[in-house]
């Protein structure tokens, strides 16, 4: 008599798997990667490759030789960490520093806590924060996109090929007592919305082109990897927060559109705040998480010491996720009803 497998229901299984989710995110990051090659050339490829190889390699090494457990280094999650870490670095960064950042991201921020799904902080952002503290100069010197640098070298004089990012220039300018329209007018590059949108400005590898990031984000929405709540509420809250101050004093504060198009918020809102592992489980919790992160990011940008606050805003909110999950619960069926 033949025997059959007996298991509890359900006997049907969906096609949504960890690998599909993770490699789906990698695919969604490709437009930004292509944009980065266009703007920063072969250095962008080198930094991204080194970061990805380091992250996957460290996870493999730890699982294979230290933990001696099943190796899941190729499930795509380490690849995303590597890619996002690289996208948060200037293309001129020395490659050995990228390796150090990758080791920290995976080794300390992820595997120490138990690997995939157990890390409280986004590993790529933790790696970036570690690198920013360790190599402050290399981390804040951005090459100007290749094409622009040639164009504008004809008109104005510049020293070398590096500069601060739009946000950095803004911060420095305001500290020196300037006002916003003047700072923008004297900038070595044009910071108009078009350049900010397509990414033709100084900045980290993957963060400059809002267009490419939004394309990737829409792909993730289409594939149901993320929902729209976190990106929309994060950017919306930053927009409203900076908008209020801009309306109060447009000479001292930049306009809200500039804020959501510049710096790392696009990348952060679509790819890092939405990191499943480090964001709340319920939709209401996600909205709260995103709104507060947006306000934090705006506060750091307008009043903090750093020009950019995106990565810290997300890291800080990551720490609040367990608390949010404890108190913000999904809407229960039959709960809201009067028991009569």
């Amino acid at each position: 008599m033949s025997r059959y497998i007996v298991s509890l229901s359900p006997h049907e299984k969906g096609t949504y798997t960890v690998e599909r989710v993770m490699w789906g995110v990698v695919i969604a990051l490709l437009p930004s990667f292509l944009a980065s090659i266009y703007f920063f050339g072969i250095r962008a490829v080198a930094v991204t490759a080194v970061a990805m190889i380091t992250c996957i390699g460290v996870e493999y090494f730890i699982q294979k030789f230290m933990l001696k457990c099943e190796v899941t280094a190729f499930d795509g999650s380490a690849a995303i960490t590597g890619m996002l870490l690289a996208f948060n670095l200037p293309s001129s960064i020395p490659l050995w520093e990228v390796v150090v950042g990758g080791i920290f991201s995976i080794g300390i921020a992820k595997m120490v806590f138990g690997g995939l799904g157990k890390n409280p902080f986004n590993p790529a952002l933790a790696g970036r924060a570690f690198m920013l503290a360790s190599f402050p100069v290399d981390m804040t010197t951005w090459p100007i996109p290749i094409k622009t640098s040639m164009l504008w070298a004809m008109g104005k004089t510049v020293d070398g090929t590096t500069s601060a990012s739009p946000l950095g220039l803004l911060k420095e300018g305001i500290k020196a007592g300037g006002n916003v329209p003047e700072i923008f007018a004297n900038a070595p590059q044009s910071f108009d919305y078009f350049n900010l949108f397509i990414g033709n400005v100084g900045g980290c590898i993957g963060e400059v082109s809002a267009l490419a990031i939004i394309l990737g984000g829409l792909y993730m929405l289409y594939k149901k990897i993320i929902t729209w709540h976190i990106p929309v509420f994060y950017l919306g809250s930053l927009f409203v927060f900076t908008g209020v101050f801009w309306m109060i004093d447009p000479n001292h504060y930049a306009d809200p559109l500039f804020h959501i198009l510049s710096g790392g918020v696009m990348l952060g809102a679509w790819f890092m705040a939405t990191d499943m592992v480090t964001s709340p489980m319920s939709v209401k919790g996600q909205i709260l998480f995103a709104v507060i992160a947006g306000v934090l990011c705006g506060s750091i940008r307008l009043f903090g010491g750093y020009p950019e606050g995106c990565s810290y805003s997300i890291l800080i909110m990551n720490a609040f996720v367990p608390l949010i999950d404890k108190y913000i619960k999904p809407v229960r069926f039959g709960k809201e009803v009067n028991y009569g």
Binding site: E12, G334, K335
Partner: protein
């Protein structure tokens, strides 16, 4: 027009309704039937026949004596071979009456003809009594004794009968076929149910993936005032009682309460047909439609099968178990039970027999939870499966109770959708059982 559906959670598994176009065929009589005494929720029936007794089709062989229990009738004529303990579809040992089939002689009281009888002669209380004596249970799969639902306690205001013709389980097509082939009888059955409940409004919920059934039912329903057909958006688990009520009348049954508390009674469309036969023809529940299907099966089919027929006979009828079959499920793929052998018999709750091959039968490797939140977003009861799973692993029952684990309807959407293939529902069931045990112990103090 936007189709109605429920608002919280839900998934849409591949429908795989391969047997939808196969008309119902009556399966030939088996040589021997084994009729278990616990085919329903509640106390098992007590056998009232003994070895050597002669029985006819429709003879009472098991009497349901507790409040929640149901009568059981012989589905064949012949001689009782034994009353003994056998294994049922769930693998438990149960008492069963085994009958050797001789001919096909029906009890004289049963009207054994296909003619439609529209006139309802019985009064409300008599109908409920008939439903009880004929051993009618819910044919959606849970097998709750139907007469219990019809004993409405004093003071409960009832206004709507909801007929569950959703058939949201993939693969299954038994309800779909009876709606196409026995439409009038179902409609009269609904009239009988309305009369028994003393209400005038009935709504039949049908998912939009059965347009032919919707069209046919709408056409016939035009002659039956007070009975509406409500097409619904395809979404699992719409056939769950609470979700269906939400979909068709937009009322939410409060946690821990019954459909009665929002003025509804829910019955399966198959039950409507069984009630028609019981009341108009005095025919007990002795047969049902079973879908036999599977991706590798050359001719998926719907059979009208006598209760107690060995599953082996169904397998033979479709040409044997397909090559490579590793799992056989009794019921739908989302909530049905896997059986270890085909030697079990068809019961009142057997809505389908499905064959799964190697690629579908085994569970996938369990990975770490990536906190994607899918289980939370698909849970039709708005629970937190990921959290309950973690708490069950640590045996923290009191906390699980606070998370309303007992609200779980075990639809399996969480396990279905989990990208890490975590056994969410398995552990939630364990949590539920423990919470119920703790509550029972508490009530004894």
């Amino acid at each position: 027009m936007k189709l109605k559906t429920f608002k919280i959670g839900g998934v849409h598994p591949p429908e795989n309704k391969m047997a939808a176009n196969s008309p119902i065929e009556a399966l030939s009589l088996p040589k021997r039937v084994s009729i278990p005494m616990n085919q329903h929720i509640g106390a098992p029936a007590n056998p009232v026949v003994k070895k050597g007794d002669d029985v006819k089709v429709g003879t009472l062989i098991g009497k349901g004596e507790s409040f929640i229990s149901a009568n059981i009738h012989s589905s064949v004529s012949g001689k009782v071979f034994a009353v003994e303990t056998v294994m049922d579809t769930t693998g438990y040992k149960v008492k069963a009456v085994i009958i050797d089939v001789e001919g096909d002689v029906w009890e004289d009281s049963i009207i054994h003809s296909g003619a439609l009888i529209k006139d309802i002669k019985l009064e409300s209380a008599e109908i409920v009594e008939r439903i009880k004596s004929c051993g009618i249970v819910g044919l959606g799969g849970a097998c709750f004794p139907t007469h219990v639902k019809y004993m409405v306690p004093e003071g409960k205001k009832l206004d709507t009968l909801v007929i569950n013709a959703v058939e949201c389980e993939p693969y299954l097509t038994a309800d779909h076929r009876i709606m196409l082939e026995r439409t009038e009888e179902i409609m009269v059955g609904i009239e009988i149910m309305k009369k028994a409940l003393k209400i005038n409004r009935a709504i039949v919920g049908i998912e939009a993936n059965k347009p032919d059934a919707i069209a046919k039912m709408e056409k016939v329903a035009a002659n039956f005032p007070g009975t509406e057909i409500q097409p619904l958006k395809v979404q699992y688990p719409q056939g769950a009682e609470k979700q269906l009520i939400k979909s068709v009348v937009n009322r939410e049954v409060p946690s821990g309460k019954l459909p009665l508390d929002v003025g509804c009674v829910v019955n399966n469309v198959g039950t409507a047909l069984a009630i028609y036969e019981a009341v108009q023809k005095n025919k007990p529940l002795i047969e049902r439609v079973v879908t036999v299907t599977g991706k590798k099966l050359s001719k998926p089919a719907n059979y009208l099968v006598r209760i107690g027929t060995p599953v082996d006979m169904l397998v033979e009828a479709v040409g044997g178990i397909p090559e490579g079959t590793e799992k056989i499920v009794n019921g739908g793929p989302m909530m049905g039970k896997a059986v270890s052998t085909t030697e079990v018999s068809v019961t009142k709750g057997t809505s389908g027999i499905i064959f799964f091959d190697k690629s579908e039968a085994r569970r996938k490797r369990i990975a770490n939870c990536i906190r994607c939140g899918k289980c939370v977003s698909v849970c039709a009861m708005g629970l937190e499966p990921y959290l309950m799973e973690k708490l069950v692993e640590k045996s923290r029952w009191e906390e699980i109770e606070k998370l309303a684990v007992t609200d779980c309807i075990e639809c399996g959407s969480c396990s279905y959708t989990c990208p890490s293939s975590r056994p969410l529902l398995d552990l939630i069931r364990l949590g539920k059982a423990n919470v119920n045990r703790i509550r029972w112990e508490r009530s004894k103090k």
